[in-house]
Symmetry: C2
Subunit: 403 residues, 2 copies
């Protein structure tokens, strides 16, 4: 093997490296964010990260919206000792799909979140105590308003692309409707124009698990233990919906926790491996997430319905000249392919330019976080094409001069 034929670096070696989260205060008490509910909120603190360099004309920025329980840390690590890289590290970095050698990538924790951005566990300036149950009702649209304000504050007028999976995809769609001139492309993965009734039902039962926890105390639990059991249960329920039957079957099947053989046990709380796995997921989740945030964000997700607000999906997305890239996964039953097809049909009906990828995958809803190779094979050229168009446009506008 010669140096010339050396394989490209493995995905994990193309890291953005050590990164840190920035904080910025947007809006203010005098000039607050006006929420869709009519309530005013300001200032709004936003936790965000950026990767790569913004180019001179601020035309290479890509905004990534995280999903329900994500945060601003998309890629890289916060310290060399940290074992875990950002939630989409496989996608963001030098030479990766969101190539930080070329693009300036931004991600922020959503409004209502618990990872630095103002949310129910933040301090209410009026009382000096956590907002808790007094935090105002928020919508996907409110989150997008904050994202857009962040982008403006970074000196960016138009993004190359707004990208998101699941709840993040809902934000990307809302962005296209709300700010039709702010992005050249909208990328929505494993997403929908509204959650299914079944999805609402699962979220509702998860919220009820939190309400039923005696430590919930109507949301004002910050001086106590907090509804750990309820939040863990909500996560366990939700986690099943992120997987497919096939993926659970392949990963755990009917395997018992303490034996490879089915046997008869006497009153043993954790029996099946899938139970142990879900229990573990629930426990880890409680360590990193806040129950009120979970309530506020799932409610925002449940209320999101882009066709309800604008009349139809086509009307909502018809105002933008952005190109669309949508991707769904065959075994995703929480955001099923039929919902992506509904958006694609509406976009085509509205004369929009849309690339749609329906990937075979057994990994269910989580596929957009796990099945990166095939996604990259289409999304990378899509982003390159958008980028070339934008550069050509800029070059034409500047009279073809070569800077």
């Amino acid at each position: 093997m010669t140096l010339a034929s050396a394989p490209p670096l493995p995905r994990d070696d193309r890291s953005v490296g050590i990164v840190s989260t920035n904080m910025i205060d947007l809006f203010s008490a005098e000039s607050p964010l006006k929420l869709e509910s009519g309530v005013e909120l300001g200032p709004v603190r936003v936790a965000y990260e950026t990767y790569g360099q913004l180019n001179e004309d601020a035309s290479n920025a890509i905004y990534i919206c995280h999903a329900l329980t994500g945060d601003a840390n998309v890629a890289g690590k916060h310290s060399p000792e940290s074992k875990k890289a950002g939630w989409w590290d496989g996608m963001v970095g030098p030479g990766k799909t969101f190539d930080t050698n070329r693009f300036f990538v931004i991600c922020s924790n959503v409004l209502g979140g618990c990872k630095g951005t103002t949310g129910p566990c933040s301090t209410n300036p009026a009382t000096g105590k956590p907002w808790g149950s007094t935090f105002p009702f928020i919508t996907i649209g409110d989150m997008v308003e904050v994202h857009a304000q962040l982008v403006r504050s970074l000196g960016i007028r138009k993004l190359l692309a707004v990208v998101g999976g699941s709840l993040g995809g809902m934000m990307a769609l809302d962005w296209a409707a709300r700010f039709p001139d702010m992005a050249h492309a909208i990328v929505g993965l494993a997403t929908s124009a509204r959650l299914t009734a079944q999805g609402i039902a699962f979220n509702a039962v998860g919220r009820r698990a939190i309400y039923a926890d005696p430590n919930y105390k109507n949301g004002d639990y910050y001086e106590g233990e907090g509804p750990k059991f309820g939040l863990a249960l909500a996560r366990m329920i939700a986690h099943i919906t992120y997987l497919s039957e096939t993926s659970i079957e392949r990963k755990f099947g009917r395997k018992l926790q303490n034996s490879d053989q089915l046997g008869y046990v006497l009153q043993q709380e954790i029996e099946f491996q899938v139970e142990s796995y879900l229990h573990y997921q629930g426990q880890r989740f409680v360590e990193r997430f806040d129950a009120n945030c979970y309530l506020y964000l799932t409610r925002a997700m449940d209320y999101f319905d882009i066709s309800q607000k604008y009349g139809s999906i086509g009307a909502a997305l018809g105002q933008t000249a952005a190109r669309f890239f949508l991707c769904s996964y065959s075994s995703d039953w929480l955001f099923p392919p039929s919902q992506s097809r509904e958006i694609v049909t509406a976009l085509l009906g509205a004369g929009k330019n849309v690339t749609y990828l329906e990937l075979e995958s057994v990994k269910g809803h989580d596929s957009f976080l796990l099945e990166l190779e095939e996604l990259e094979s289409l999304l990378k050229p899509f982003l390159n094409s958008i980028s070339s168009e934008v550069m050509t446009l800029a070059s034409t506008r500047s009279g073809g001069s070569h800077r």
Copy 2:
């Protein structure tokens, strides 16, 4: 309209009328039921109901196995004032599919249940207190052993058919494997030879909701309130799996509890109608069911795997000469049609006589309790055919004499 062209009586007018539950003690301390775990249990009290008349040679009996939360009351009412008839009243009665003018129909509450048959909420004769957490681990096979003993005690050597849906269908399959000569036909609706890994996951999370309830007290809660929140949550989770996405969508869609319009609310616990519905289902369930029973019965369901015990489905069901009738429902994702097809394939491979019906339905797993017309159109002639065969056989054996 003349009398001659009067339509047949509507289904609800063909009732078995007012019925009552019988109690019988089977096995005994001296001659106990030997559970699959090796533990011995006796006596076992069994709550059962019968409808119609057993014929002279005891050849017209049909045994119906109830599902997870059913009871012995399949048909009819316990009092004229009662608003609710038995759980399968549409199927059992004069002229109905299980025609009580012709068949002698039996149903008993399962071992481990809380509707009269010995279970964790029964009194442990050794202590004079409820069994609670000391009740032994039970299996589907143990339940079937009790059913078979009940049948024998009624003077029946061979049943015309053993019938069940869901968990009841698992019992019917186990019966075929365990007592291959005790039934002429096995009828399994919306059932499987083993629960899916996803089904186990949902059951496991439901059990965890009960364990996490502070009133669970390790199962010995009978002097206290009991884990009402946990049990209600478990039921809410399970209830979603009994419905299909389409049925939830059609019934509730995204409709809010207090308005037909999506609006923005401030901290309101129950928002969507589906949430209110599930909450109501959870509350009603707690009034009629015991948390320990729910734990024991779901565990029995999770452990059931007929191919694990006998080597394969074909080996398990290959010993009986019974004819099989299986039915699955297109939108049933808890016991999907693929699982019924697996049984059908194994039965055909074992040279068995099997009738298989795959019904289109939007009602999910609950279809076997709701979609009765189409089921009747095939099951009725199937039962008639079995009945005729048995009568012909009896008549041949008795030398063709006409009694």
